[in-house]
């Protein structure tokens, strides 16, 4: 009898994961919609565990090619039931280009625009404040040619 309940438990987990995937699709659509009058290009779905106390906050990395003379928008949306609040940072090699959170001032932005002047590979890092666990969606949109 016990093995049948284990099977039932596994299948419920399986179904729940499907539900989580569905939530992601909705959050991506909502986040892309809230980015404004821009063209959606890419999404970055993130689910992170909490970090170790005293260590660096866990982060997810995504690489992409951005083109010269193009204005892009990077948006971040934290999932409603997420423990931590998400931060999106854009790097060119190791140089920080932009962030949705300015730690020096504590200012937060749901999105920022990036006027790209150099075609190449860039990296987006998504993490959660204070290394908390969390779920979020980042969106890359095309704004206009410069």
């Amino acid at each position: 009898m016990k093995k049948y309940f284990i099977l039932l438990f596994i299948s419920i987990i399986f179904l729940n994961n499907g539900g989580f995937a569905q939530d992601n699709v909705e959050l991506v659509a909502q986040c892309a919609g809230s980015a404004g009058n821009v063209t959606y290009l890419k999404d970055f779905v993130v689910k992170l565990d909490p970090g170790i106390p005293g260590g660096n906050p866990p982060s997810a990395k995504f690489s992409m090619v951005l083109s010269k003379n193009t204005q892009y928008r990077f948006s971040i949306c934290t999932a409603p039931d997420s423990e931590g609040e998400a931060i999106l940072q854009l790097f060119d090699m190791n140089v920080l280009q932009g962030s949705t959170y300015i730690s020096a001032t504590g200012k937060e932005f749901p999105s920022f625009d990036f006027k790209c002047q150099k075609t190449g590979v860039y990296h987006v890092f998504i993490s959660f404040k204070e290394g908390k666990a969390g779920e979020a969606v980042g969106i890359l949109s095309f704004v206009k040619k410069l």
Partner: protein, 315 residues
């Protein structure tokens, strides 16, 4: 009474077991359906020559890092439109032979080509032709078992109503991203690579054809910059060189890569600055890339791109 009770208990237990098994099977069936579309791939077999049995030279993780957004189905079209280039049906790949594509290699490559064409149509709001391309994409997506991520019904409705063009664009690009993501997580990066290659070559074909018809310095610069993207693309493709079809594709693309050898790209360094425009945080990059490409070189790249792209879409 005791004799009667025991079998009844056994029957109840057996019924509960059956119910649990039935529930388990049902949950698995419903859990597997991610897009509400019927999975068509049970009978599908990836041809032997596409299955990569050798060890990849770079890991799946590194591959995924490189593949992500190597080329977008809409950006090149957006550039062309921003230069006020007229729309032309002649730049599109024909769809009538889609059913004759029989290997997953051909199907994935062509899927990328059509995705770029769909991006071009959407950017120019040419909804009349969209239906033809979403039908072709749906056929190929089902063939490579990613059809569940392509929302054909909604796209068809949006294209026919000629309304909500933003939604049409969003669903088109999102569906492509979902298909690409799924292929990579499903350890079918070879097909994802082919899709991305298809998008890239069709985007380059569009840019070069527009440059051929109406030369523009910015377009020439964007074409020259493809040298950077092509280097990454070749790195990924090289992982599959043991496969005959990939080897043939790599050989063709290497000829194109050589055309870019004397294109030079220099970088002027600068610090990024943050400004505020209409309440929005805007980061202005002050690193600037400068591309040098001669007219002769541009012409040879245009010719070679046309040659390779036409070979790829011919069955």
């Amino acid at each position: 009474m005791l004799h009667l009770f025991k079998p009844q208990q056994q029957i109840q237990r057996a019924m509960i077991k059956r119910l649990i098994v039935l529930l388990f099977v049902s949950l698995l069936i419903f859990g597997c359906k991610s897009g509400g579309e019927k999975k068509t791939g049970d009978e599908f077999a990836v041809p032997e020559d596409v299955v990569n049995e050798g060890v990849l030279e770079i890991s799946e993780e590194v591959m995924q890092d490189i593949i992500q957004n190597i080329s977008s189905p809409v950006e090149m079209a957006a550039l062309v439109k921003s230069l006020n280039a007229d729309f032309s049906n002649q730049y599109l790949a024909p769809t009538e032979n889609v059913d004759e594509l029989t290997t997953s290699f051909q199907q994935a490559l062509q899927l990328g080509v059509y995705a770029a064409d769909l991006g071009y149509l959407n950017i120019y709001n040419k909804t009349n032709s969209v239906l033809e391309y979403i039908t072709a994409i749906k056929t190929l997506a089902d063939a490579v078992r990613v059809g569940q991520f392509f929302d054909f019904t909604t796209l068809k409705r949006l294209a026919q109503s000629n309304q909500n063009l933003d939604s049409l664009m969003y669903i088109s690009v999102h569906s492509f991203n979902q298909m690409d993501k799924y292929l990579r997580t499903d350890k079918r990066s070879d097909l994802s690579t082919l899709m991305v290659t298809g998008v890239w070559i069709e985007g380059l074909y569009l840019a070069t054809q527009v440059a051929k018809a109406d030369p523009h310095p910015e377009l020439a610069e964007r074409i020259g910059e493809q040298k950077i993207i092509m280097a990454d693309l070749m790195l990924i493709l090289d992982n599959y060189k043991s496969d005959k079809q990939f080897a043939k594709l790599i050989k063709e693309l290497n000829i194109l890569k050589e055309e870019f050898n004397d294109v030079t790209i220099t970088i002027q360094k600068g610090e990024p600055e943050a400004i505020e425009e209409e309440g929005m945080l805007v980061i202005v990059q002050n690193d600037v890339s400068i591309v040098n490409i001669s007219d002769e070189r541009l012409k040879s790249i245009i010719a070679k791109t046309e040659d390779i792209r036409n070979k790829l879409i011919s069955i």
